[in-house]
Structures are given as structure tokens and as C-alpha cells.
Amino acid sequence: MNTVAEKKPRLTTSAMIASIAGEGQRVKAAPFGKALVELAANRPDIVGMTADLAKYTDLHLFAQAYPERFYQMGMAEQLLMGAAGGMAKEGLIPFATTYAVFGTRRAYDFIHQVIAEENLNVKMCLALPGLTTGYGPSHQATEDIAMMRGIPGLTIVDPCDALDIEQAVPQMAAHNGPVYMRLLRGNVPLVLDEYDYSFELGKAKRLVDGDEVLIISSGFMTMRALEVAKALQADNIGVAVLHCPTIKPLDEVTILAEVLRKPRLLVVAENHSVVGGLGEAVASCLLQNGVAPARFRLAGLPDAYLDAGALPTLHDRYGISSEALSMRIKGWLG
């Protein structure tokens, strides 16, 4: 795919839940856990539930603050989701956590039938989205958005950084219906406070403008896109970035307007398989509305079982590091 990885020293796989923050990058610790603790202070209807992964999803902070509202469900994801549905039927608002691979793949029918079919107020906050661990496909949720997009009425949020997460938590609680958030935990990069930006559920927002390339992105790929925009400035290549943290429902109005504004190479960058994610959602939106960008490319993960290894190596290998994404975009520009 590219040769970035081959020039670098061989790294070793870091801990499963290593931070995705780069060296020296500004971070915030446990933004989800802290935001939930703050919100729950005035919301006695909020409960926390986990499947043996409280510490690894930052829900332990909620458990410490509100032990009487914290439910340890054991390593049983069907139970986690189905019981969260039962809790919601009783008027409570459960924030349910585990890893995204387990929450989506193992408990899909319970999310589909128990939670979403009745539009229940369950907020699923599932960690290790996409390629955020080097532990291989058992822990890499590279098709979670594809699965979850197929569920009617389910809102899907893919936050970029700590600011997105902090602002998303109260909006998720206020939203009437089920929400899936791809959770970044631990030391989470803080990026978006440098821009004139605030998270609004259901809204895509342009962070920077440029004339040659438009990157539509979600999750931490927006952070990468912003890095790419800066890097390509040196080559006089203008890159606009439209951050689209709500995958479903998709902000089609903003996406169409942004694509129509200038003829540019459109790149959809996502920390997810190219099958069934933001890229295909954007493509469908454009085609159905008869809007054609100058060119269209998907910068997502390949439709494959990904390798185990060190995250920087893997991000280079699969084209989602800043360096690799810059090279791909330059290649597409020709």
C-alpha cells in the first residue's frame, strides 16, 4: 500500500489499551468517565453497567462515585445489553460499556431486538474502535459501524477527541433513543479545542478550508486529517476537513453543501473497514442526490483481518497514519 512502515525501526506491540496519542500530544485523562460522573450528579436516572471492563472503559470512575448505581454484569455481553434494555424499560438510562468487538459482535441480536426495536434509552459506549489495539482481529472492531448502521433508529457517534466525548455524553443522555458511541478511553488526545468547534449530535462541521482536497472524516481520523492538512500546506495543497462525528443519522445537508461548494478530490477517512462505514454512507448520499465530487477515494481500513503489532506500524501499514494518509492523498492528486 505504501512504504512508510518499511523505513522505520521495528516496534513492539504495546499494551492492549495503549493511548492513541502521539508523543508530546496534549491529552485528557478519562474524558468519558469524568463527563458521566459530572452528568450523573443531577441525573439519578443514569446507571452504569459493564461486562467486566469498567477499568478499561473509564466506567470505574462512575462506579467509585455512585456504587449504588453501578452494575457489574460479568463477562456476559448478551446479558449486558439485554439487561440494559430491561433497565431502560423501567425508566433508567443505562450507560453500558465493554469493548466494541464484544458489544457489537456478541450481543448484536440483543441490541437489535431488545434495545433498538423498542427505541430504548440505552447508551452503548464501546471501547477499542477500529484499529486502536495491536492485539489482532479478536480485539479490533473494524466492522462495528457496518453492523450497527443496519439497525433502524440507532444513533452512532464516532468522536475524535476528549472534547468531542465530553460534549457528546450529556447530548447522548438527552437524546430519546439508543445511541452507540465508539469510545476512546484513557489518555485521549485533545485537538478540537484549537478550532471554532463544538459537538452537536447529528451535525457535521468544517474545521479548516482548502481548495484542492476535501476530507470528510470521523473519529480520530479527523485528528489525522487535520495533521495532513497542515503537512500538505508546505506543498501548497489546500485541504478542507469536514468532521462528521455522527455517522447515523448522517448530516446529509452539510455534506452535500460542502461537496458542492468547490470541485475537489473527496477523501473519506475513517478508522473502520471500507465496507459499510462512513465512506459508503457518504457515497450513497452523494449518488442518491446526484452530486458528484471531482474525484472520490476511500481512506479506510482494508476489507481484511488486520495484523497484530505495534499501532504506529499498523497505522502506517494500513494507510491511516498522518504520514501514510498524506502520501496516499498526494498519490491520488497525481
Binding site: G82, G86, M87, A88, K89, F110
Partner: protein, 284 residues
């Protein structure tokens, strides 16, 4: 002072009417899980005629006992019980399984008053029941959660996730009712995936267990009373051996399978046989 046993004649009449309503719905559709409905009618009679704390005109009343139909295909029986309880008007049974009816073939919470969950994806009810029982305790609401399920659902791992969890959380407000009619889609449940010794399994999971004849009204009534009034901080399960087609001998003895075949004239014949053996004063 009246004891629960004094209610037995009334419950026998209630069970008779539930069987009649179910047969009439089956006749409307020309099909339905009538074998299960006839087999489960005595349990539903005790639930809806005695045990459940309900306000029929207000199915969402906060203080109600929750009755979850995990085996959604038993909806024909559950609708009959909801008619008997006064939640659904009797004339609505004519719409069973028809387009735009509130009474679809498989039970769905969003369609029918009094239908607490959308069952049918088997093995979900007990898990939802765990969540509701935890939620009720969180709200300090003393209502009970009943989960009605089939023996086929014992195959599902989720049932046992729920069983472990209910005991772990000491859910003494959760009562599970298992219909052991020993029939599932591919044949006798014991041949599809053996589940015995079943009482020992539930006991080992930390539950209070009773195993009884689910077509013996007095035994069913006594088991419900025990389950409700037990002081142990444990979830309770009642394992009920039932006979598919109970009350209609030519259906009781028909080659058993998951879906009992009934020919068009047989619906009226079945109703006639039921009525011949009706308890006194049981007219629907």
C-alpha cells in the same frame, strides 16, 4: 378468611375460557401454536386470574407485576389471558394474525397492550427480566417480574447468563416459569439438546426451584404462592411439566411436534369437546 385454594373453581373456569379464546383465534387464522396454548393455559390462569397485581385498564401502571413472554410464539395463549384479564376486548380476537391487528402471530411490545416485551428471539426474556428486576430494585418498586419461557430456550446460552446473574444479584423479585412440554422445532427437547437434570441445574445456579405438573391447577397455584412469599434472597424458578393440547384429547394424542396440525373442521370439534368438559359456570 379465604385461602388461595378457595379460588380453584374460579381458576378452573378462567383456564377454560383461556383455552376457548385461544381455539377461536386459531380458527380465525386456520393455524397457530394451539398445542402450546392449551398446555400453558392453567399456568396463565393462575398468573392472570390470581397472582399478578394488575390494573387492566392501565397496562403501564407503575406498580404492576411484569409478565414477560419470552417465547413470543405463545402469543395466542397470552392474548387469551389478556382478554380474560380485561386488558384486551374479547371481540378483538377476531383480528388475530391479520394485517394491521394489534395481535400479531409473535408477541411484540409495541403492538399489544399488556405485552411487556418483544419475545420470539428465544432466550432473551430472562435476560430482560434481570434488567427489569434490577431496575425495580433501584426504584424501590416492590413489583415482581415473571418470565415465561419454553424448555427449548434452555438451549440458549443467554438463559444461563441470566440465571447466574439473577442469583448473583439476589433477585428475589424475579420468578421464572419454564414450560416443559418436551417439544421444540426439530423434535423432543430431550433429543435436540438434553437439559436434565433440570431442577439440579437451576439449584446449582443458586435459584429456589419447584418442579410440578403444570396442568394441575392446585399445584400451580401453590407453587406461585410459594414463589411469591418465599423469604430467601434468591430468584425463583417453577419448572412446569405440561401436556401439549391439554383439554382436547384428540390433540393431546396427536403426533407431537412443535406445530400441531389442525384441520378446518377440528377447531369447532375441539371447542365442543372443551365445552362438554367445562367446569360449572365457565361460559365465556
Amino acid at each position: 378468611m379465604t385461602s388461595a385454594a378457595d379460588k380453584l373453581p374460579a381458576l378452573a373456569r378462567c383456564a377454560h375460557r383461556i383455552r376457548r379464546y385461544a381455539l377461536r383465534m386459531g380458527e380465525v387464522q386456520g393455524q397457530g401454536y394451539i398445542g402450546q396454548a392449551l398446555g400453558w393455559a392453567d399456568v396463565l390462569a393462575v398468573a392472570y386470574g390470581h397472582a399478578l397485581n394488575l390494573q387492566p385498564q392501565n397496562p403501564q401502571w407503575e406498580g404492576r407485576d411484569r409478565f414477560l413472554l419470552s417465547h413470543g410464539h405463545y402469543a395466542i395463549a397470552h392474548y387469551a389471558a389478556l382478554i380474560e384479564a380485561g386488558v384486551i376486548p374479547q371481540d378483538e380476537l377476531e383480528t388475530y394474525g391479520s394485517d394491521d391487528s394489534r395481535l400479531p402471530m409473535s408477541g411484540m411490545a409495541t403492538y399489544t397492550p399488556g405485552m411487556e416485551i418483544s419475545g420470539g428471539s428465544l432466550g432473551q426474556g430472562l435476560i430482560i427480566g434481570v434488567g427489569m428486576a434490577l431496575g425495580l430494585k433501584q426504584k424501590q418498586n416492590p413489583a415482581f417480574v415473571y418470565n415465561s419461557m419454553s424448555d427449548g430456550e434452555l438451549d440458549e446460552g443467554s438463559t444461563w447468563e441470566a440465571a447466574m446473574s439473577a442469583a448473583h444479584h439476589q433477585l428475589d423479585n424475579l420468578i421464572c416459569l419454564v414450560d416443559i412440554n418436551n417439544q421444540q422445532a426439530d423434535g423432543p427437547s430431550s433429543k435436540v439438546l438434553g437439559f436434565e437434570p433440570l431442577a439440579d441445574k437451576w439449584a446449582a445456579f443458586g435459584w429456589h426451584v419447584q418442579r410440578i405438573d403444570g396442568n394441575d391447577l392446585a399445584a400451580v397455584l401453590a407453587a406461585f404462592e410459594t414463589a411469591r412469599h418465599l423469604k430467601e434472597a434468591k430468584p425463583r424458578v417453577i419448572l412446569l411439566n405440561t401436556l401439549m393440547g391439554k383439554g382436547v384429547p384428540f390433540l393431546e394424542t396427536r403426533d407431537k411436534n412443535h406445530f400441531i396440525r389442525v384441520d378446518p373442521p377440528e377447531w369447532q370439534q375441539a371447542l365442543a369437546i372443551l365445552d362438554q368438559n367445562a367446569p360449572e359456570g365457565a361460559a365465556a
